[in-house]
Amino acid sequence: MNGNRSVLSGWRAYLYILPILIVSGLFLYYCIGFTVYTSFHSWNGIDSEMKYIGFDNYIKLFDDKSYHIALRNNLVFFIFTVGIQAALGLMLAILLRAKLRGHSIFRSVYFIPTIMAPIIIAAIFRIIMDTNFGSLNEGLRALGLDFLAVSWLGDPKYALMSIIIVNIFEWMGFSMTLYYSALLAIPDEIYESAKIDGSGFWRTLFKITVPLVGGTTSTLVILGIVGSLKTFDIVSLLTGGGPGRSTEFLTTYVYKKAIEEFNGGMSAAAGVTILIIALILAVLQIQYTNRQQRDL
C-alpha cells in the first residue's frame, strides 16, 4: 500500500483496537457465527431446540421461487437506482455549477430527502401513489391521462418501479452533492480550451467531465450496492414485499421467514447468502480504496 513504515509498536497498540473488537465481537462476529450455525439446522426461531439437517435449508432456499424474485429484485433495483441517481445527480450538478442565482437554494431542496428517514418518505409516497385517492393519479386524471393512472403499488407490473422511483427521490440529492464537489475541483481552463477546440456540449460531457468525476462515480456505485443490499424500510412500508411476492427483497425475505413463517433455519440460510454478497462487496471496496490511494 504505502511505503510509510509504522512509527509505533508494542502491546499498547492492542489497547487502541480493543474497544472496536469487543463491540464487533458481540454484535458482528457472534451474530454471523450464530446465523451460519442455525442455517444448517431446523429451528422455529424461538425455542432453544434445534435439529441438524445439513444443507437442507439451502436446497429449499434455492428451490424457492420467491427467493429468486428477491435476488432479481435486488439486482434490478441496484442497476436502476444507481444508474438514474448518478445520471440525474451529475446533470443537476453540472447545471448548478454554472452558479446562477439561487443555486444554493436548489442544492438544499434536492438534498432534503436524504436527511429525512426513508420510512417517512415511504409513508408520504404511499399516500401519493394510492390508486384511488393519491394525488399522483388525481393529477394524471385531471390532465386527461387516465390510462397512466395505474395501481402504482398494487400492480406487480409497476410496484418495483414505484419503489425504485421513491429511492431515487430519496438519494438523488446525495449523488448530486458528491458530483457538485467533484466538479468544483475541475479548473475552468480545461473547459475554456475545450471550447476553443470547438468541442460541443455532449463531447465535452463525455470526453472531459465524466472521466474527471470517475472517482465519485465509483464511490456512488459501491455505496449504491451496499445500500441496495440493506434496503428494507422503503419496501416494507410501501408494498411489504407484495403484491403477492413481486417486490420481495433479500432483507424482507429474511424478515418474513423468521417473523411470519417461524422458519429460523431458512431465514438464516438466506441471511448467509446476504453475508456472502456483503463479503464480496467489502473485498471490492477495499481493493478500490487501496488502488485509489496508490494513485494519489
Binding site: 512509527v7 463491540v23 436524504t114 417517512i120 394525488s135 451496499v226 446476504i274
Partner: protein, 268 residues
Amino acid sequence: MFINLRKLDKWIIQAVLAIVAVVWLYPLVQSVIKSLGINGFGNYLAVINHPKVNYFLVVFNSFFIAVCTTLAVGLLATLAAYAFSKMQFKMKNVLFYSLVACLAIPATAVMSPLFFTAKTLGIMNSYSGVILPLVAFNAPFMLLILKNYFDSIPNAILEAGMIDGCTSFRMYRTIMIPLGIPAIINIAVLTFIYSWNDYIIPLLLIRDEEMYTVTLATQFFTGTTNQTPEMVAQLYAALILMTIPSIIVYMFGQNAMKSGLTAGAVKS
C-alpha cells in the same frame, strides 16, 4: 462546463433546475397542506398530545441515540484507525481486514442472533440496546475511511512528537485528531444520518412506547388503518412533525454536511 453563457442559456438552466425543485418539493408541500386539513393545527396538537406516543420524548430518543452512536463510532474508529495506520503489531492485517470485511453487512441478515444477543445482555428496550448494535454495524465502514485518511498524515510528524517524548495517546489527541478533522466530520455526518434514519434495529429491539424512535413512531402512525379523513390529516401532521428535527439539524449542520460528505472518503 458552462462558460460565457448567453442569456437564453441561463434561462433554460434556471427553468430546468426550478422544475426539478418543484417535483422534489411537492411531496413535502403537499404533506404540509394536507396536515392542515379538517382540523387545521388541531391535527398537530392531536399528535403532540397523543396518549401513546410522546412526541418530544420520541425526538429526544432519536437524537440521543444518534448523538451517542456518532460519538462512540468516532471514538472507537479513530482509536483503531490510529493503531492500524501508525503502529506495528502482530496480526495487524488479519485484524484490520476482518473488521473492514463487515462493512456491507445489513443488520437484517443477522436479525435473529441480534435479538437473542440483546436479550442475553439484558439491553432490550434500552438506549444501549440500540446504540451498541448501531455502533457495531457502522464502525467498519468508518474505520476504512479514517484509516485511509490517517495514512496520508506523514509519519515524520509523529516521529518528531516521539523525540519530544510524547506518549502515543498524547499524539492521538494532539496530532491525529486535529489533522484528521475533515475525515472525522465526514464519518460523523454519515453516522448521524444512518443512525437517525435506522429502522430495523429499533424495530427488532424496542417494544416499549417510551423508547420509540422517530422511525418507530412513524410506523406506529402508518400502522393504523387510516380510513377517516381526520386520521389521514393526523398522519400527515405526524410525518411533518417527525421531519422537522431533521430539517433543524440540517440547517445547523449544513456546511459540515456538504463539505463533510465529500472530504476524506471521496478523493476524485
